[in-house]
Amino acid sequence: MAAEQIKIVKDGLWNNNVALVQVLGLCPLLAVTGSFVNGLGLGLATMMTLILSNTCVSVIRHWTRPEVRIPIFVLIIASIVTTIELAMNAWFHELYMVLGIFIPLIVTNCSIIARAESFASRNPVFDSALDGFMMGLGFLLVLITLGSLREIIGQGTLFANTHLMFGESARALELRFSTDYPGFLLAILPPGAFIGLGLLIAVKNSLDRRSQQKQSARIISAQPANA
């Protein structure tokens, strides 16, 4: 049981990461990662949706019919996203003013329906919620990494505008690396998003390969000793 949950955690964060391995949800991913705070905003909203939609789908998994399960998942996800949007607009208006444009974008994130279909519809509620949380967290981490990279290279700042999310006290968080940075437009424009994501995937793959080589080297070096 515990081993299964450890696998869920590892899958979500690394082995089966939504953005780096499944390469899902590219539309919102590439669109908003111009800065750290945008990445964080969309990441949190997506994580929230993933947890809720996975939980709901898992709860009703015995009542659906295979031929209509996809429309039902779509209905659930759309209702959840709309409800979150309305609730945030009403009760967290300041935050909504910042994240407002990202929230409808979540519906376009196919990783949510992918998790509903491939995991939550076949697994118990707790595991599904955990899977939603971990997949969301993995997505969030990629978003803020890419957002930070593009912000540093593109604008020469990091954590700019975080006060939009955390209030005025966060204004001091902004790091400015050079007072006279001309900016590197490519990083902020869509091509920068594609290049950045490509590099992140390459780094992950090379790390994976290195650890694989180490493992097989260990096996090979262990064999002669046995013989």
């Binding site: 659930i76 209702s79 409800t83 009760w91 437009l185």
Partner: protein, 222 residues
């Protein structure tokens, strides 16, 4: 027969989920609509107050309004609302809501506050669809560019300097974002021209809320 029953139960199942989902959204909407509207009013008032500081007027700004017809200078075909600030029934300022049409991606809705003497109280972007990270520098939250308009008027700078620097004017543009600032500068200039043309009508066409003969618009809140 069995097959038909299966189709029917599946359809009913789907219908139940659709009804539940729609019900959930409807219920949330019902519970939040008033709060959301209230939030929007508060945000609007706060925005108006950043243009015309509350200590400069004593009337009910949100309700002392007139509708003005669409005009090319406002970038609008439809009527828009003008908010009027007064102190002791003397005109202090108006806040126009022009639209900048030359943006990179659709129209940019502005609020332009103009004091009675024709100087700008301030400009704010209300809504836009410019590229995040580039065109959104016209938002006051992201840079102080938009505050540079404060204190300017039709005489300062002169007409032909009402452009971005790249076009030989007085206003900064941004790396990678010239179009958005250009559109905003043009719209603010047009709003000033509109004010100069219609100044009397903007202030005078209906009585302020305090007088004994309340007109339409003035008595919304009472």
């Amino acid at each position: 027969m069995n097959r038909h029953r299966r189709i029917l139960t599946t359809a009913i199942l789907l219908m139940l989920f659709a009804a539940t989902g729609a019900g959930l959204v409807g219920l949330t909407y019902d519970n939040t609509a008033d709060i959301i509207k209230h939030n929007h009013q508060l945000v609007l008032l706060r925005k108006l107050n950043t243009l015309v500081p509350p200590e400069k007027y004593d009337n009910d700004l949100l309700n002392d309004t007139i509708e003005v017809a669409g005009d090319d200078l406002l970038g609008k075909k439809n009527p828009s609302t003008v908010y009027r600030a007064r102190k002791n029934n003397q005109p202090v300022a108006v806040v126009l809501a022009p639209t900048a049409t030359g943006g990179y991606n659709g129209s940019i809705d502005l609020l332009v506050g103009i004091y009675a003497d024709g100087t700008l109280a301030g400009v704010r972007v209300v809504e836009h669809h410019e590229t995040p990270g580039l065109g959104d520098v016209v938002e006051a939250e992201r840079s102080d560019w938009i505050t540079k308009f404060t204190g300017k008027s039709l005489r300062d700078p002169a007409d032909k300097r009402w452009k971005v620097k790249r076009d030989g004017g007085d206003f900064d543009q941004f790396t990678g974002a010239t179009i958005t600032p250009r559109a905003v500068v043009k719209a603010v200039h047009a709003a000033l021209l509109y004010f100069a043309k219609h100044r009397e009508a903007l202030f005078a066409s209906n009585k302020p809320a305090a007088t004994k003969e309340p007109d339409k618009g003035a008595n919304h809140g009472s």
